[in-house]
Amino acid sequence: MVTNLLDTLLSRERIFIVGSGGVGKTTLSAALAVAAAVERPISVLVVTVDPAKRLAGTLGVAALANSPRRVELPELSPKGELWAASVDMKSAWDDLVHQFSPDLATSERILASPIYHNLSAKFIGSYDYAAVQVLAALTADDRYDLVIVDTPPSRNALDFLDAPARLREFFSSPLLALLTLPRRTRLFSAATRPFYLVADMVLGSAFLTDVTDFFADFAKLAPGLVEQSRSFSELLTAPATGFIAIAAPYGPSVDEAHHLLEALRTRKLNALAFLVNRSLPGWLFTPEAAKARIWLEDEAPALLDARLAQNPKLAAAIHRATSELAFTYQQFANAHARELLDALRDVGIDLFEVPIAEFELDSPTALSALVASTTMVASRAGG
């Protein structure tokens, strides 16, 4: 029942959707947000923390930005309203620099630095921090009754959630202090001298000066950034925050699912539900059907040959049809999520099965239909 899934969602104010790459996080985040806004008289915000910004297309809006935009759902006559936002890294960083610089001169120096320009626009890691800061603001906004966050793809599904801690580690590192020493001191410090000698040779002293000057300014943002990342970390473990994990049914998914749940638990994050996406309908996989598959391979060709004896040209077609049907069925049976569902049945969270889509998931209506066809397999309470 879709009601169960909505109840699970609405038991919290903030929901983070987690899972490894390719399992359908973005699509399901959008789908859950659409369903919640359609079915309940509440204000729902969906935020995608995915650099690829694919959410906009799915929701049928032109573009998304850091500030939420209203998504109209005229065909669905929603009881509530839907808003959507996406993290734009460059403007998020610019805002942070303005917000946390101690004075105008510092912010102007940072914004003009070519190092900053490259760091904020391109390089690994900086995206997560920008996203954390944008989310901290959005998820604390009480204009929305429910905020659903689509977390970024990464090899470790929870990398992103560790970004606040990594940011604090960066600013508290003694190495940062060493690197931002005044230039004279830095050359005479036994700890950094070899580094500077080699770095000078390799990177050139001009770049090195640019880097260290930039970090000297950047370090001034630390109090603000650290404070905000700390409150975000608190928000992640708050009782009003929940996590929904997504898995796809085939591949090495049982181990991954257990690993993900374990990772949520060790971080003291509230795992609410597991959604098994692209699931095949269980009624297809009966013992009779398994026998019919064998029959198709062993007996059907001869039987069909006899029935269609008047047309010998069909012999090859008969052989192909029966073997392909049997093969396809066997592949489907292998792909059935039963193993994954059984493994997750007793882990103490709500378990849902989202059917594999037979239609394009390219409109709010299609997304809403997908949620409507989701079924509950097990509940936290057991059974």
Binding site: G22, A52, I124, R155, P252, A289, A321, L325, Y329
Partner: protein, 308 residues
């Protein structure tokens, strides 16, 4: 032709997580090795997928031989730095200073491009060394690969002096030469992965010097009963009333066919967006039915037929 693709020196297998990049990298590498080329597969994201597919649980920075003509290594920025210093900065005493790697590592988490340039520098160095005929790179997911492929140009702008400045020039020469370096895009035929692949294709073309050669659409459902004479299909359907379980088998096949149609439409959209001259190969969905060494062999065979 496949000879043309495998005749490159450096192939970057790009795409979002979960689309099977590692499988495609491993298959492409073993295909090239089987055809007699000396191949090095470089795993950049440290996940160990390519390694384990080829029978090495944890690849090291030093390439390991996994099959005839086929080596696997894992990128490690600290080891790459040590190697770089040993080769270019001939100050053995300083490069052995114990804290140096740590400080560089710290700088590289924050200073733009230091980590990326070490990775790309190592790849280009191997191209120049001519130890291998072909280097297949399995880079980290989507967004990150853009900063890696574009790094030589970016760092060239940022750094005006020093050894690295001189090196970005020959690195750019290798990366921007479509005869030597190409990117392959891997996607799955689901709606959002297709959208993201198109986005990535645009970014590779505009933000990096590397030529985008074509795409592999992986995990595509290929339809049963397509093109089979209707007489035969009808006759099988007629039997569903008398053979228990056959109705379910047919229903599964029909569901499968509807998903195939959806995949075909997504694929057509993808090809349409990228232009008709863009090369696209497709690989079927295996539903986890094959264990990895077998899967890699199977996909390699498919690629041998499918690749342009």
């Amino acid at each position: 032709m496949i000879e043309e693709l495998l005749g490159r020196r450096l192939i970057f297998v790009t795409g979002k997580g979960g689309v099977g990049k590692s499988t495609i990298s491993a298959a492409l590498g073993s295909l090239a090795a089987r055809r007699g080329l000396k191949v090095l597969i470089v795993e950049v994201d440290g996940k160990g997928d390519v390694g384990s597919m080829l029978g090495v649980a944890k690849p090291s920075f030093k390439p390991q031989l996994v099959a005839e003509n086929l080596w696997v290594m894992e990128m490690d920025t600290e080891a790459a730095l040590a190697e770089y210093l040993r080769i270019y900065v001939k100050v053995p005493f300083i490069s052995k200073f114990p804290g140096l790697g740590k400080i560089f590592d710290f700088v590289s988490t924050a200073a733009p491009g230091v980590r990326e340039i070490l990775v790309v520098g190592k790849l280009c160095y191997e191209v120049r060394q001519n130890t291998y005929d072909l280097i297949v790179v399995d880079p980290p997911a989507s967004g990150h690969v853009i900063s890696q492929l574009g790094v030589a140009g970016d760092v060239g702008e940022l750094i005006q002096l020093g050894l690295v400045k001189n090196q970005t020039e020959w690195m750019l020469e290798i990366l921007a030469d479509p005869e030597r370096s190409v990117a392959l895009l891997v996607a799955t035929p689901e709606e959002t992965p297709i959208e993201e692949a198109l986005d990535l294709a645009g970014r590779i073309r505009t933000e990096t010097p590397v030529h985008l050669e074509g795409a592999v659409v992986n995990r595509r459902f290929v339809g049963p009963l397509t093109g089979v004479e209707t007489d035969v299909v009808d006759e099988i359907r007629n039997l569903a009333g008398s053979v228990a379980g056959l109705a379910e088998v047919l229903a599964a096949s029909d569901l499968y066919a509807r998903i195939c149609d959806r995949h075909d439409r997504n694929l057509a959209f993808f090809v349409d967006q990228l232009g008709s001259s863009f090369k696209v190969a497709t690989v079927g969905e295996y539903f986890g039915a094959l264990e990895t060494p077998k899967l890699v062999d199977e996909v390699a065979e498919v690629l041998e037929v499918e690749l342009w």
